[in-house]
Amino acid sequence: MHMFSLSFVYLFLPAMLLLCLLLPVRLRPVFLTAVSAAYYLLLERENLILLAGVILFDYGMALLMSRCRDFQRLRKAIMVCSVVKSIVLIAYYSVVNQLNGTHVPLGLGVYCLTSMGYMLECYRGSISCERSLMKYALFAGFFPKLYAGPLVSYSRLMPQIDSMRVTLKKIGQGASFFIRGLAKKVILGDTMLTLFQSLQAIPTYDTTVLTVWSMVVAMAFAAYFILSGLCDMAKGLGLMFGMELPDNFSNPYCSLSVNEFFGRFNITVNRFLRRHVYLNLGATQGSMISGIFNILLVTILMGLWFGVSVNLLLWGVYFTVFIILERYVLLKYIDFISPLFRWIYCLAVVLVSFAIFIGKTPSGSLEYLKIMFGFGNNVAAFDDRILYLLASNYLALLVSAICSGNLPGKLLAIIKKHAPKLGDVASIIFDVVILMLATAFLL
């Protein structure tokens, strides 16, 4: 019963909303924590123990840290212990998954990093530790954000948990986010993923230049629509229960530079790494070498967010090259380059990066890169198979391109600006229609 299933949308969610509305505000966090645990148990069975263990451990460690205010070394040891635990857990499951395909518990990265961020904030003294285990559990393990984030800081979420006001307006806003996220995931994301899988199934010796370009485009769309769809759904559910989660994606494929791309793609993870790694290491304040190292580290970690593998490491290194290039070389000339060329440059860099992302091994990625640019023996530009697959998915590709630039949103905004009432009606009709379509695609 995933968040993007019929039974969740039409059974679990109504029951949850109804009960939440009937409960007094002070009991809502308890209720949502119980619901999150039940949901996790339903999906992950025994992995609930791991989630509960991480939450209990960090909750206890933070309390302990608050009691050792005068023992700086002990506080540091507690913080290091907690952070190492989170890193080891993520690394262990990622490596084991790479080696023998063991299932990675749902949301492991999200709740470990959320806990880690909380511990670091506690250590720095920018927040005081949470006394209520129930509220802390909800902060770390609120189920909608476990799929793909967003990562939420304690200082942002906890005040909202304390006053979870559910109003019709918030339910409406949340419904809009949830419906649009659901549509992104099941209509566009899953279709693009299926196209990608069909393309990936073509043997390398039959792969053409157009096949690889189509693969990276399909993967780029699939990654964006699935991840941002899940984040929108999480944001929508949060709003319905009176919590506002931050945005995690903001039209990344409209970026005009690689730096900007990272500011729009997985925003909260990027923010987390900047705050807790990049700034701690001194950002670019020190020498150029240390600045480059810091950028390299953060960008590699951005890649490793998707899993531990050599390819993802290379993916991070690849982006580092362009980030450094932009920061140290292109910055002076950026104003002289037309936005169109900057957009084409950024899009090309991102699309080529997906050739590294999709390769199962570095040599596999290299093979894709060679074919992409027509190197190698007898690489055809295209063949009937790729034309057939593209023709079979032309509308989904077209709609994905339109939606990745948020054109429907921009159009609605223009209508709202000139005719607010018409804009509202259009927006309502849009939501109703895409809920119907998303439901149809779930059947």
Binding site: L6, S7, Y10, R385, S392, D424
Partner: protein, 365 residues
């Protein structure tokens, strides 16, 4: 205001659907508690969802409009469903079938014929989605005839069917040829089997038995915007002929005195009317025939389309459905009682299924 309206509509949808689901008896029986897995609940919600059929049709039609003309392995082309053949690269089954034919001919040394009937996807290629890679049935047929030359006489129906490709040769919703397609197969086969005078179509009475037939492709494809097929019986009208059609299947023999027992439509389906359906062995005798020839036909369900025409020139035809036949039933067949042996298969069943391995159980093989 807009957010509140969306909120109200969303809540209404969220309340209406569970209320509807719980009112459906089939869903109410699904225990929502720990007894049922989330997958089972999800399946039950999908099956009992309000207007689920319309929503599914909407999804499939949208996918089709979006260019997806191949759903669940079936090509959708406007008003026609088609199936491509996807054999293994080593053509293991086809090779086994060809070897079995060679062994048969070596053992029995009787006049043998091979007729491979191409499927709609190759005869009506203009209906196949652009750029779709379809199996080259023509090349396969030519190769099979070449490899079996000297063993069997090849009956090449491809050119005849191809020259009539715009006619109603194949069912839109079933992966087999129509009665009209069967007629053209007969015209091509007549020249090889006996150089008979080919009867004109006007010499047959046509009885349209069903205008609302949906075949196996319709069941397999999720696409529903297809016009149903017309199933027709072709009855040779020049001379009144009396048939005894005996089916031998696991329940024992059953007998009809017509090629088209119409009442079978109510018991089984429209296709059960043509020759009384398919059985492991169908023995058809024409009691008042001037023809003494006897034909042993190893084939598949495509016989239902062309056999009524071939029967004009035979006194007795025994059809062996090699997919259904058992070793026990084969023991009752004596090849020497027949003047001719015809291996007649639709290309897909010949390429994808080991049709003829059972022949080793024939007495004398």
């Amino acid at each position: 205001m807009k957010d509140r309206i969306v909120g109200v509509l969303f809540l209404l949808a969220l309340i209406a659907v569970p209320v509807f689901l719980l009112s459906v008896s089939a869903f109410s029986t699904v225990d929502l508690s720990a007894g049922n897995s989330p997958e089972k609940i999800e399946k039950s919600v999908a099956e009992n969802f309000p207007a689920s059929e319309s929503l599914r049709r909407l999804q499939v039609s949208l996918r089709y409009l979006g260019g997806n003309q191949e759903q669940n392995g079936v090509f959708i082309s406007g008003d026609t469903l088609m199936l491509d053949i996807q054999p293994s690269k080593d053509l293991k089954e086809a090779n086994a079938n060809m070897q079995a034919i060679k062994n048969f001919v070596r053992s029995f040394e009787c006049p043998s014929y091979l007729m491979l009937i191409p499927t709609a996807s190759v005869i009506q290629q203009d209906k196949v989605p652009h750029y779709a890679e379809i199996y080259d049935q023509k090349a396969f047929i030519d190769e099979a005839y070449r490899r079996l030359s000297g063993f069997v006489n090849a009956i090449d129906v491809y050119p005849t069917l191809f020259s009539h490709q715009d006619e109603y040769l194949y069912y839109r919703t079933d992966n087999t040829i129509t009665g009209l397609g069967g007629y053209y197969v007969y015209t091509a086969a007549s020249k090889k089997l006996g150089d008979w005078r080919v009867r004109g179509l006007e010499e047959f009475d046509v009885d349209h038995m069903d205008y609302n037939y949906y075949g196996d492709l319709y069941k397999r494809s999720p696409y529903r915007e297809i016009t149903p097929d017309r199933v027709s019986a072709y009855i040779f009208s020049k001379y009144r002929r009396y048939y005894i059609v005996t089916h031998y299947d696991t329940d024992g023999p059953r007998r009809y005195y017509t090629l088209y027992p119409g009442w079978k439509k109510q018991l089984g389906g429209t296709m059960d009317v043509l020759l009384g359906g398919m059985s492991p062995v169908i023995d058809i005798s024409v009691t008042n025939s001037q023809q003494g020839s006897r034909l042993l036909l190893f084939g598949d369900r495509s016989v239902q389309s062309y056999l009524p025409f071939l029967l004009i020139n035979y006194g007795r035809v025994t059809v062996v459905d090699t997919e259904k036949i058992t070793a026990e039933q084969l023991k009752n067949i004596s090849v020497k009682n027949y003047n001719q042996v015809l291996f007649a298969y639709s290309v897909d069943s010949f390429v994808l299924g080991n049709q003829l391995s059972a022949l080793k159980d024939l007495p004398g093989a």
